[in-house]
Amino acid sequence: MNEFVERQLDLRWPQPKASYDVVIIGGGGHGLATAYYLASRHGITNVAVVEASYIGAGNSGRNTTIIRANYGIPEAIRFYQHSVDLYRGLEDELSCWMMHSTKGLMWLAHTESQMRAERARCLLNVACGAETVMITPSEAKQLCPQLDLSGGGRYPVQGASYHPGAATARHDRVVWAYARGAMRLGVHVLQNTPVTGLLRIGGRISGVETANGTISAGLVLSAVGGNVSTMAAHAGVRLPIRTHPLQAFVTNTYEQCLGPIVSDAELLCYVSQSARGEMVIGAEYEKQPSYSLRSSFSFLGSCAARVTHLLPFLSQLRILRQWAGICDISADYSPIMGETGVDGFLVTTGWGTWGFKAIPAGGEQMAELIATGRTPTLLEPFGLGRFAADRAMADQGSTGTR
């Protein structure tokens, strides 16, 4: 992490203790948010967040920063709507500017079958408390004048669903703000401390082995992104998770002009404009699982071609940088949060493609579970036990998962 940020934010890096009440593996959004809520809501401050690299080095710093709630199943919509609401008040709560900006999101449909899917999404979203409306092509054009309604002559826009509550925020700042919030309340954040194994007493996980020595813990939470299967294997837990890379890129900065976030489930791409003016463009995850963070030119070519069908002005821009993140995708495309069947070991995982928007709700709910020992209502459907109980929650409610 750069010095400028550390000075500005007043981040403190303490010496590690030998033991903590709670050790959270993974210093990304979810890990730090859980630590913050444990300290602020439940008074549990003897907590360490152990990060292999620097905070936000993983997917918290690699996502496309979209915050929204228009998912495909009731449990998910309620959960993400809660997160969208928490994000709105987050800058005040953590007294840190996160460049949060509510701009709305439209999902374009090019075929009658996609229109049907969007209509169903609207009805379900409204029923579960996430405002979403159907809009006509001309209304879409009003919201986003740059849109080519003929879709480059190949993908004419039939209509769209519009989710006014959608927002973007600066992802690094969310991570730093939670880190600072947690540190001020006494949480230890240990950077450059990769976890190499888990300690066990009897059947119970009792701490972590790190490259800098062992740390014992009353309870261990894995908030690892990407490499979670390896971490869970240390505890003897198998997860229904595949790890896929997902690539994205940004263009050079441009005058603020793109109103809403434009997303397209048929062309598999989404565009938003960051506060700095860059167009942030993402796509679906790669078909074969891997842990490779390599960017590919074939992705860049195909994604750029698709996105310029919708927004032709993008073809005038230059590509500034490209990157990849590794997403842990669960078998039913919903996150997995809660107990694992091994005492003293909890997970929050399966966040591939929807982790950033869930940071406040995921952290708050996991903190409540850890502090009270009871699974909060919002979290209940997302337990690992749902697979054995035949209650999998198929939700392909994101462009990343088609």
């Binding site: 299967s229 390896t230 198998r238 229904p240 998770i241 595949r242 842990y291 490779s292 697979f387 054995a388």
Partner: protein, 81 residues
């Protein structure tokens, strides 16, 4: 780009293939039939390293093949494991 050598068609680009999942066997340590079913239906090794996998040559001969891939760097290491 990833290239895969199909035993029938030879060296072909990955775009012609569909990933068919891990070549799996049910762990022997699980003796409870119910638990074994859950494990077989849902759980994955998701290895960060050498993984043995099934691939389908969708846009070619339409046969299945087994290969070993290093998932850390996404490279095929052994086409006839």
């Amino acid at each position: 780009m990833l290239w895969i050598t199909c035993p029938i068609c030879g060296r072909r680009p990955v775009e012609e293939f569909a990933f068919g999942g891990e070549a799996r066997s049910i762990p022997e340590r699980i003796t409870d039939p119910n638990e074994r079913d859950v494990d077989y239906a849902w759980m994955l090794d998701n290895l960060d390293g050498l993984s043995t996998e099934r691939w389908f040559h969708q846009a070619g001969c339409r046969r299945w093949l087994t290969l070993r891939r290093n998932t850390t760097i996404d490279a095929v290491v052994d086409e006839t494991p």
